[in-house]
């Protein structure tokens, strides 16, 4: 039988088309069935934090150990890679396929809150209060509170503290800095000995944020509008210009990538001092890690103390099948967070006093100093604004801040002009 013979038979054609329609219907029913089935569990999306797969296994273990009370839904854990994570979340937001509960980057909840996609966490906080489990460290809940309610609950903090290499400072005959003046002195001694005194890449503005916030500066006014050209910020940039001019900052840093260049430079001893994550030793060889020490917060030129931190949130979306289930699961998850630190699976700081009081934190001088001295003076980049807002996502790592950082690293020293340019850049992203 040739193909013409097949096409010439209308019954067979109809059979084929009918069969196709039947297959499509069956497929559709199948899909509907699987949708229905997935509705029996709420979804928990979790980024790959801390130590990668071992962290993910532990997080999945906590989620799997959750047994929902009568009338509530169980949970399904899904690990979300950091690659293209904005696209993952925003595409889900646009398609209304966000999970019930999720971890995420620091400012993501505010973005979704403004889009009306988030379920505020005020009731969850109230239930934690009632159960006597609201022991979040000071300032963290306030930093997550928007004018429309609590955007998320915190679960860890990416805090930037001043690390130094003890042996290198000793070799260079430099003292541990206590304020900006002594920081420059120490930096000069290190530069003379061929070391870098202020670690930074050309694409991360955490170092600049640490300096500005240390000096009680900030990018916004109380209303959350850009307000960059202030005395505190000018002093902060002047300080950075001095570090650049005296080669305390590596002249090559402008072309540096953090993972490819800055981390190896810490490991090799080329970098001897800088604002870094609390978990820096975890990225280093054992010998280098043992030589790393956290200094006390610096007193800035204006007499202030401050630190930059990013609060990692757990957030609830309105796409949940049951808000009560979302809250019940999150309460369970928060209850078990201590496992991450007890098992050495998280390099950021915990957010609960019950965990930071554990001997594993208080017996480690670097962690104890980070918690007891740095965390209380920590601020987010929304500092000075009454409420955080969604556009912080565009400020954190956006072009305006990176361009200013690169100009500073290139040696442009007119602080006021740089801040005016930053102001224009921030106005553009805040008021599109």
């Amino acid at each position: 039988m040739n193909d013409k013979a097949v096409f010439a038979q209308p019954m067979r054609r109809r059979t084929f088309l009918g069969g196709t329609a039947a297959a499509a219907a069956a497929l559709s029913l199948g899909i509907n069935k699987s949708w229905a089935q997935s509705g029996e569990r709420i979804k928990f999306w979790d980024m790959v934090w801390g130590t990668g797969q071992s962290y993910t296994d532990a997080a999945k273990g906590i989620a799997d150990s959750y047994v929902a009370a009568d009338g509530l839904l169980n949970v399904e854990y899904q690990s979300i890679p950091w690659a293209s994570w904005y696209q993952t979340f925003t595409a889900a937001g646009a398609a209304n396929t966000t999970p019930a509960v999720s971890s995420g980057a620091a400012y993501l909840p505010f973005y979704f809150m403004e889009e009306g996609k988030m379920a505020p966490a005020d009731d969850l906080l109230a239930s934690l209060d009632k159960a006597g489990k609201n022991d979040f460290l000071p300032g963290l809940i306030d930093a997550l509170r928007t004018k429309d309610g609590l955007a998320a609950v915190p679960w860890s903090i990416d805090l930037r503290v001043l690390w130094y290499r003890k042996s290198i400072l000793e070799q260079a005959g430099a003292d541990v800095p206590t304020d900006w003046q002594s920081f420059i002195k120490t930096g000069e001694a290190l530069a003379k000995a061929g070391h870098v005194g202020f670690a930074t890449s050309g694409y991360g503005f955490h170092g600049i944020a640490s300096v500005l916030l240390n000096n009680a500066g900030g990018l916004f006014n109380e209303a959350g509008e850009p307000d960059c050209v202030t005395d505190r910020n000018i002093e902060g940039l002047d300080f950075l210009h001095e570090l650049v001019a005296k080669q305390i900052i590596d002249p090559y840093a402008i072309g540096y990538d953090y993972s490819a260049n800055v981390v190896p430079d810490w490991a090799s001893g080329h970098i001897a001092m800088g604002f870094e994550q609390v978990g820096l030793p975890g990225k280093m060889p054992a010998e280098t890690a043992a030589d790393l020490v956290v200094a006390s917060p610096l007193t800035s030129v204006s007499g202030n103390k401050g630190a930059a931190y990013w609060i990692n949130p757990l957030m609830m979306f309105k796409t949940t099948a049951s808000q009560q289930s979302s809250e019940a699961f999150l309460a369970h998850y928060l209850d078990n967070l201590h496992l991450f630190w007890e098992q050495g699976l998280n390099s950021d700081l915990p957010v609960n006093k019950s965990i930071t009081d554990l001997p594993l934190f208080q017996n480690d001088p670097n962690l104890a100093r980070s918690i007891n001295e740095w965390q209380p003076v920590g601020k987010t980049i929304a500092a000075r604004a009454k409420y955080p807002f969604g556009a912080l996502n565009a400020v954190d790592g956006g072009s305006a801040m990176i361009n200013m950082l690169q100009k500073v690293l290139q040696g442009e020293s007119n602080s006021r002009a740089l801040l005016e340019e930053l102001q224009v850049g921030l106005v553009k992203v805040l008021n599109p």
């Binding site: 190896p264 996502n393 100009k407």
Partner: protein, 299 residues
């Protein structure tokens, strides 16, 4: 009788058409969903001022006007032109030269070819990382060499001009194997007898190259230019993995700028407007080069 035959024949032909249409329909629908839907959605977003989640208010052509009025766009357009021109002509010149050198049979020719293909075969993440190690740091090989030669601190990725040159050289380096293969295939189409005949007529090697090799391979050359131009204008990873468009946006091409505007500055309307401008340029470029191909085919 004739009429009856016609009717008899038309029915199965119509049926066949219907069946073919039915068979093609799922694929057509898939094409529409995969290609047309995102394009239409992007067009809608480009005339709205919204977020990555909701389109926001209608703003007409304001995003396009904003983009055209932004000096950053023109800076990126300029770099895209430099990047594309150096990628197309740099990799073509190098690829053509190597294809000619590798045309005669000699021992180890196959091994040479494989080695020369490596920059194209190795994943871009690996090559970008190896170039970073070679160039970025104070102790990297090339800056160390430059210091040893008394040139001081040469910052290949830190100085805007040097970074532009570095990115273009990197692009030529990863692209020449593709051009070499295209040129080698085209050179195979030149009959040996043509060279012999021209040699008998007294043509020099240069005359053979300009009057035989180039015209005969012109069609393939134009096709490879179109492909490389489109690859280069759309090339995000080569630039982003090496410099992220910096320093000071010196190596931001239009595709990098579109990405940054959309996903780092959270201005999707502007980012998509940039992408539409790029599409228009690529279509215009393709039309011009396709005409050249047609002309070359006729000749």
């Amino acid at each position: 009788m004739t009429y009856q035959l016609a009717v008899h024949r038309r029915t199965p032909r119509l049926g066949r058409r219907l069946t073919l249409t039915g068979l093609a329909l799922p694929a057509l629908l898939l094409m529409v969903v995969v290609n047309a839907y995102p394009l239409v959605f992007a067009a809608i977003q480009s005339v709205h001022s919204g977020s990555l989640i909701t389109p926001g208010p209608f703003v007409g052509l304001r995003n396009f006007a904003d983009v055209l009025g932004d000096p950053g766009f023109w800076k990126a357009a300029g770099f895209t032109l430099i990047f594309t021109a150096s990628a197309v002509f740099g990799s073509w010149a190098l690829g053509f030269a190597l294809a000619i050198l590798l045309k005669p049979q000699f021992p180890g020719r196959g091994a040479f070819k494989v080695l020369l293909l490596l920059p194209w075969i190795v994943p871009i993440v690996v090559t970008a990382m190896s170039w970073n190690w070679l160039l970025a740091g104070r102790e990297s090989l090339l800056p160390s060499l430059a210091r040893a030669l008394g040139m001081g601190n040469v910052m290949f990725l830190g100085n805007p001009t040097l970074a532009m040159i570095t990115v273009c050289v990197f692009k030529v380096w990863i692209s020449y194997p593709f051009m070499m293969m295209m040129c080698a295939a085209a050179l195979e189409s030149v009959e040996a007898s043509i060279y012999e005949a021209s040699a008998i007529d007294g043509a020099s090697k240069w005359q053979q190259f300009f009057h035989i090799v180039l015209p005969v391979t012109a069609r393939s050359t134009y096709i490879s230019w179109i492909l490389m131009a489109v690859f280069s204008i759309n090339d995000f990873p080569t630039i982003y993995l090496l410099t992220r468009g910096g320093p000071l946006e010196a190596t931001s091409s239009l595709i990098v700028l579109a990405y940054k505007t959309t996903f780092l500055d959270f201005l999707p309307g502007n980012g998509i407007a940039i992408a539409f401008f790029m599409t228009a340029v690529m279509i215009a470029l393709s039309v011009v080069l396709l005409r050249q191909i047609r002309k070359a085919s006729l000749q």
